[in-house]
Structures are given as structure tokens and as C-alpha cells.
């Protein structure tokens, strides 16, 4: 009995270690390559940098990666903030009204239907429309992120409010003379903290990593590119010279890694909560 258990465990270790190495190799290659000269990358792809060099990073800086990093940061932060300003509020109204009113339960369906629609369906019309409206810029992108984050985020908030924020709380606040606005801002909003963490994480990761919307909306003007858009174009531009592109991937990965190290538990639970989508 004990022996089979041990054998079983060895099998599990082999699986987990093999998997872990498979995840590690491409990341390690990226970090090594970012310190190599192009010739070294070609001849010695999997090895240590020999000799190591900071040139790729220097080149990346002089090619203006700072600007793209900044663009991505601003877009991600502002988008997350507007989502948080508008969506929980709407979720609160729906959670309170939809069980008693047909109009509001229709509104709920109206707002979450987007979960089921693949983005390709609106991709072309929205690109044309944003160009026509003069919104093919950072502000337009933020509006679109808010819009497309609504269905899933709202769904999560409504569920949470129904489960965890009892109506009696509103009533108690109203007895004390608070209106709905005060009740929401002073009492309900702070109670949604766990859900704020979840939605903040899933949305921020999406906005930060997203490639498609920036490609459609921002590709024309290289000054407003986001980091992924820059990384993609940079790779194409230096197709004979891989060092700087590898350095640009490292910049993207390191940022995410730092965030991941700090908020690992929240991120894992947040993203799996959000996966109901």
C-alpha cells in the first residue's frame, strides 16, 4: 500500500517538474537572449549570454520604450477607474430592482448579452465608427474598454451584491435619513471590496495585455501605441536583429511578474472567479 503511494507520488513529481521546466524554458531563453548580441543568439540559443551586454536595453530606451510603457499604464489605470466608477453602481441598482421589475430584469439581460458575442462580430463596424467619430485615440480606447468590460464585470457584481449585501442594510440607512446615493457611496461601495479586487485584476490584466483593440484603434499613430503594439511592431522592424525585441518582451514580462508576486493569491482567486464568463 505504502509503496504504491510512493510510486504514485514519484509519477506526480515527474509530471509537475516536467511541466514546470516546460514553462520555464521559453522565459529563461527570453531573459538570456535579452543580454546577448544577435550573433550569440543565433549560435548559442539556449545557453548563457557570452559575453553579456546591456546594449539591447540601451537601444530599447533610446527607441523610446518609456513612452509606450507610459501609454499602457495610463490607459490601463484610467480604464480600470472608469469601470469601477460606473459598473458597481449599475449593479447595485439592478440587484435591488430586477427581482420586482420586468424593465430592470430586461436591462440586466441587455447589459450582459455581450458575454456571448464574439468580438469579431463588431470588430469592423466599431473600427469604422471610431475613426469617423474621431475617437481612434487613447480616449476612444478607454471608452471601448469600459463598454466591453461591462457585461462580465456587471454579472460578477450583481451576483455578489445579491449574496452579500442585504436589503435590510439599505432600509436601516434610509431610516437614518440617507438617500440612495449616500447609501450606495457610504455603505454599499465599501462593502464590495472583495469584488473590487477581483474585477480590478481581471480587467487590468486584460487591458494591459490586450493587443486587438489597440491594433484596430491606435495602429496609425505610433506615438500613442501601447506596449504590446510596440512590441509587435518592434519585432517586425528589427527582424534581423533579435536582441532588442527580446529585451522588450522582458520589460513586459517583468512588470507582470512584479504585480503577480505581490498579489498572487488575489490574482489566482480573482481570475478563476472571473472565469465564469
Amino acid at each position: 500500500m505504502k509503496e504504491t503511494k510512493q510510486k504514485d507520488n514519484i509519477g506526480k513529481y515527474v509530471l509537475l517538474i516536467a511541466g514546470a521546466i516546460l514553462i520555464l524554458i521559453p522565459l529563461l531563453v527570453t531573459i538570456f537572449s535579452s543580454f546577448k548580441k544577435t550573433k550569440d543568439i543565433m549560435e548559442n540559443f539556449f545557453g548563457f549570454p557570452n559575453p553579456g551586454t546591456w546594449d539591447n536595453y540601451a537601444r530599447l530606451l533610446s527607441d523610446g520604450i518609456g513612452r509606450y510603457f507610459w501609454n499602457s499604464t495610463v490607459i490601463t489605470v484610467l480604464s480600470v477607474l472608469v469601470v469601477m466608477a460606473f459598473v458597481p453602481m449599475a449593479a447595485f441598482a439592478l440587484a435591488r430592482k430586477m427581482s420586482r421589475s420586468k424593465a430592470f430584469s430586461f436591462m440586466y439581460l441587455f447589459l450582459i448579452l455581450g458575454i456571448f458575442v464574439p468580438f469579431q462580430v463588431i470588430m469592423i463596424p466599431i473600427t469604422v465608427m471610431m475613426n469617423k467619430l474621431g475617437l481612434a485615440n487613447m480616449w476612444g480606447l478607454i471608452i471601448l474598454y469600459l463598454t466591453y468590460a461591462i457585461p462580465q464585470t456587471l454579472f460578477l457584481y450583481v451576483g455578489f451584491i445579491k449574496m452579500n449585501v442585504p436589503v435590510s442594510l439599505d432600509e436601516a440607512a434610509e431610516l437614518d435619513g440617507a438617500g440612495k446615493f449616500t447609501t450606495y457611496f457610504k455603505i454599499v461601495f465599501p462593502m464590495l471590496k472583495p469584488m473590487h479586487a477581483t474585477t480590478l485584476i481581471i480587467n487590468a490584466l486584460w487591458f494591459w495585455n490586450d493587443f486587438m483593440l489597440p491594433l484596430l484603434i491606435l495602429n496609425k499613430d505610433s506615438k500613442v501605441w501601447t506596449l504590446p503594439l510596440f512590441q509587435y511592431n518592434y519585432t517586425g522592424q528589427y527582424f534581423n536583429d533579435y536582441g532588442p525585441s527580446f529585451a522588450s518582451y522582458v520589460v513586459g514580462i517583468i512588470t507582470i511578474t512584479i504585480v503577480y508576486l505581490f498579489f498572487q493569491k488575489n490574482i489566482i482567486s480573482g481570475m478563476s472567479n472571473g472565469a465564469v464568463k
Binding site: 509537475l16 533579435y242 498572487q264
Partner: protein, 290 residues
Amino acid sequence: MKFKAFCSRNWAWLFLIVPVLLQLIFFYFPMFQGAFYSLTNWTGLTYNFDFIGLNNYRILMSDPKFMKAIGFTLIITACMIVGEIGLGIWIARALNSKIKGRTFFRAWFFFPAVLSGLIVSLIFKQVFNYGLPKLGTMLGIKALETSLLGTTTGAVIAVIFVMLWQGVAMPIIIFLAGLQSIPQEIIEAAHMDGANNKQVFWKIELTYLLPSISMVFIMALKGGLTAFDQIFALTGGGPSDATTSLGLLVYNYAFKNNQYGYANAISLVLFVLIGIVSLVQIRLSRKYEI
């Protein structure tokens, strides 16, 4: 005073107004526009177009590019579903047992999920182009001596590999949560009654995992059918359109060939495809849920 009374009477609508307007303008309007354009021959370059009824859909049926893309998309979708569920449960079970370094492994296996699909693909592109051939030559494996991305079969395998490399991270965590929700007494009781590990897995664990499987199924399905970023960066759809997914085909027809109307027709087919399979799946999982 009147304004205040109005606000407090209609508070719920005021709370809702911004999201509703945004959805109306930036989601529903373009969606119906897309459906409408799919019935026209609009090029996207001028404002003129003719209404051509269902003609786009008719052309679609005999478009070899579309057929190829549907074939490839279904293959990767099937591989994603099987791979994410199979590998996901396999690894989650290993993580769920009493082994050293569980917390570390859990965090490490989830890590690919937070990376951008674009960067992952750009990295793997270099690995396939410059790393693997070196390894192939060293080990004397003929198939690997040239870049995987150069041959049609190789490129398909490469795309599936990269999408699974990243795509399996989330299912692992979902299945792990599912496994941890199984009451320990049930498994102990089964063992007492003489059930072996295999029986416990097929009869008990799997039943409890059904909701998670159904969730991962939908995720993988949607991810596979709409795949874009990773393929765009890894192969660009090539060689000779072997890895052009439906998502990529819509993009190419619209923004490279300027066939906006036609591209919209393809995207609507994609919509219907996702709709049907999700509905069937939701029905089925309701039937078998515990």
C-alpha cells in the same frame, strides 16, 4: 428641490444610464450594423455599397479560404477543449495530492495565464525558428531540423502547442478548486468499501468536476473559435493559409482585402457557431449536473 425629488425617485435609472448608453452606442449599434453590412458588398473604402441579400453567404460556401479556415479553427478548438480538460485535470490532480512545494507549483503553473498571448507567441516564434532546429540537429531528429513554422503540419502543431502552453493554466486552477470542494469523507468511505483509485476518479471525482468541466469547455470553445492574437503573432496565418483561423480570416478580408461586407458575413457565421454550441452545452450540462 424638484430636481432632488426627481433624482431620488429615479435613482436606479440614473445609476444605470451610462452603461446602458455605452452598450447601445458601442456594442448594439455596431452589432446590427455588422449584420446589415453582411448583406452588402461594402468595401469600407467608399460610402457606396449595394444591397446584395444573402449573396455573401452563398459565396462563402464555395470559398476555399473560408473552408480551410473553418477546418483549421475546428481542429484547434477541438484540441483546446480536449487538451485543456485532459491536461488540466491531470495536473490539477497532481497538485491536489500531498506533495512538497504545492504552493510553489500552483503559482508557477498559473503564471502563463497572466502573460500577454502576444508576447508568448512572439517568444515561441523565435524558439521555433532558431532554438528548436538547433536542438533537432544536435539530437538528430529530422523533423525538427528545419523550423516547425515552415511546414503546414508543423505550423498547426506549433499553434496548438503555444495555445495550450498558455491556455491550460486557468483550467488547472479551476479543476483544483473543483477537486478541493469534494468532501473528504466521501472518498474515504469509497476506499473503505474497497474502491480503488481508478474507481474513485471515474465515479466520484469526475462527477464533482462536471461543473468545472462545463466551464472550461465553454472557455476553451470560445478561445479556440475566436483565436487571433497568438496566431497573428506566431504564424500570421501561414504558411499558405494553413493556420488562418476564422478570427484572422475576418481581419484579413476586412483590413487587407477591403471586403468589409464579406468579412462581416464570416463573423456572423462565427457568432452563430458559438451560439449553437454554447446552447447545446448548457442544456447538456444541466442534464448531468449533480
